[in-house]
Amino acid sequence: AQSVTQPDARVTVSEGASLQLRCKYSYSATPYLFWYVQYPRQGLQLLLKYYSGDPVVQGVNSFEAEFSKSNSSFHLQKASVHWSDSAVYFCALSMNSNNRIFFGDGTQLVVKP
């Protein structure tokens, strides 16, 4: 069965620091992978997605993620965070382009001024 694990429920970083949010997946083949962000009192918005090719994927607002088949991971990174990046980040997986998406439990990011 497929699953997505985000091991960190909450991450706190200082403004200007670098960031990594971890995501591990379980699936026998190469999945489609996503990161979504949820700002307070809003729905989720797509940050980036991976489905083939270059394992480093660029997304909106200078976020990027790296797919690792050997580690079954899809970690989200940003070189320098801003206070406005405070939100909940969800990693998600789909088994193919026509299949529904499974979400992790989310990581709440708090950026301290």
Binding site: Y32, F34, Y36, R41, Q42, G43, L44, Q45, L46, K49, Y50, Y51, F90, S94, S97, N98, R100, I101, F102, F103, G104, D105, G106
Partner: protein
């Protein structure tokens, strides 16, 4: 810009009452989804639809019905609401294609069942 609109934004219901949550999308997407979001559980899929007239059960369908009368509208129905259904509900639309489907979410409905 993709647009998914949910109504109502907030709802208070009594145990045993009927609740209907509505969702409208102007994206002309075939697929629509209902999720609920609870602390510690992330998003869990309740029902989804591949087009008008179709509904499919997700991971937690018990106690919920869904209706897709048109391409644009997808409703979630709680015939007999219970306090355990207190949650935030999100509707999303998406379109199948060659690449991975992107979901477009509404702003959510906060449901409280007393």
């Amino acid at each position: 810009e993709a647009a998914v609109t949910q109504s109502p934004r907030n709802k208070v219901a009594v145990t045993g009452g009927k609740v209907t949550l509505s969702c409208n999308q102007t994206n002309n997407h075939n697929n629509m989804y209902w999720y609920r979001q609870d602390t510690g559980h992330g998003l869990r899929l309740i029902h989804y639809s591949y087009g008008a007239g179709s509904t499919e059960k997700g991971d937690i369908p018990d106690g919920y019905k869904a209706s897709r009368p048109s391409q644009e509208n997808f409703s979630l129905i709680l015939e007999l609401a219970t306090p355990s259904q207190t949650s935030v509900y999100f509707c999303a639309s998406g379109e199948q294609g060659a690449s991975a489907e992107t979901l477009y979410f509404g702003s959510g409905t906060r449901l409280t069942v007393l």
